[in-house]
């Protein structure tokens, strides 16, 4: 993928995440008041299509945004060659996407 497209993707995902992060931060601060329990978290999220879409979008955006940012840092701050960095970041993005969607499924869907 070309540099311009990666740059545009990173900025686009940044824009998408602005409202998502604001909601997430408010929710975090609200949720920790009085302590966190799994039941309290899951009562909020289980079966909620809205939270599934919200956090699903968040995961996809973060899985694109983080590897591109990390790629820039590794290029500028390490002597690593471009190709291994690109491969590692592609893998990192795939791992984030898989783990993130699994996490969304865990808190919104199944479980005992």
């Amino acid at each position: 993928m070309g540099e311009l497209r990666l740059y545009a993707l990173q900025r686009l995902t940044a824009l998408v995440m602005i409202p998502l992060i604001l909601v997430h931060l408010v929710l975090i601060v609200y949720a920790v008041q009085g302590g966190l329990t799994a039941d309290a978290i899951l009562a909020r999220t289980r079966g909620s299509v809205a939270w599934a879409l919200f956090y699903g979008l968040f995961v996809v955006a973060a899985a694109i945004h983080a590897p591109i940012g990390l790629r820039n840092v590794l290029r500028e701050w390490t002597g690593l060659a471009r190709r291994p960095i690109d491969r590692a970041m592609l893998a990192f993005g795939a791992i984030l996407l898989a783990l993130g969607l699994r996490a969304v499924a865990a808190v919104v869907g199944g479980g005992a």
């Binding site: 602005i18 799994a38 983080a66 783990l99 479980g111």
Partner: protein
């Protein structure tokens, strides 16, 4: 990062980068922890008890503060890149201060919650 060293903009760019690095390292662990809910609420509760340890709480506090500052310093980057140059009087500088303020406000609100 091609800014005069030690300028406020340089520190903001460094802060943006370091907070991003920390968040990138944290994110897979965050997802793995939430994934414990797949094994049932008891597993997630077990993890949340671990999260009650003082050192872990301090780390969590640091992370929400890093997320806040990464957000506002990211707005600064978008303002630099997308708004007409030069940006309005003091906008970039105000966003740096807003980032620090947001970090502190979220940090205090979170800190009070977990204390």
């Amino acid at each position: 990062m091609r800014l005069p060293r030690r300028s406020i903009g340089w520190w903001a760019a460094l802060g943006h980068r370091i907070s991003g690095l920390a968040l990138a390292i944290f994110l897979p662990l965050h997802f793995l922890a939430l994934g414990l809910a797949l094994e049932g609420a008891a597993s997630l509760d077990g993890f949340l008890r671990f999260a009650e340890l003082p050192l872990v709480k301090v780390a969590e506090l640091g992370l929400v503060m890093l997320l806040s500052i990464h957000l506002v310093f990211g707005l600064r980057v978008l303002a630099i890149e997308l708004l007409p140059w030069p940006t309005r009087d003091g906008l970039r500088l105000r966003l740096v201060y807003a980032g620090i303020a947001a970090m502190l406000v979220v940090g205090i609100a979170f800190g009070v919650g977990i204390a």
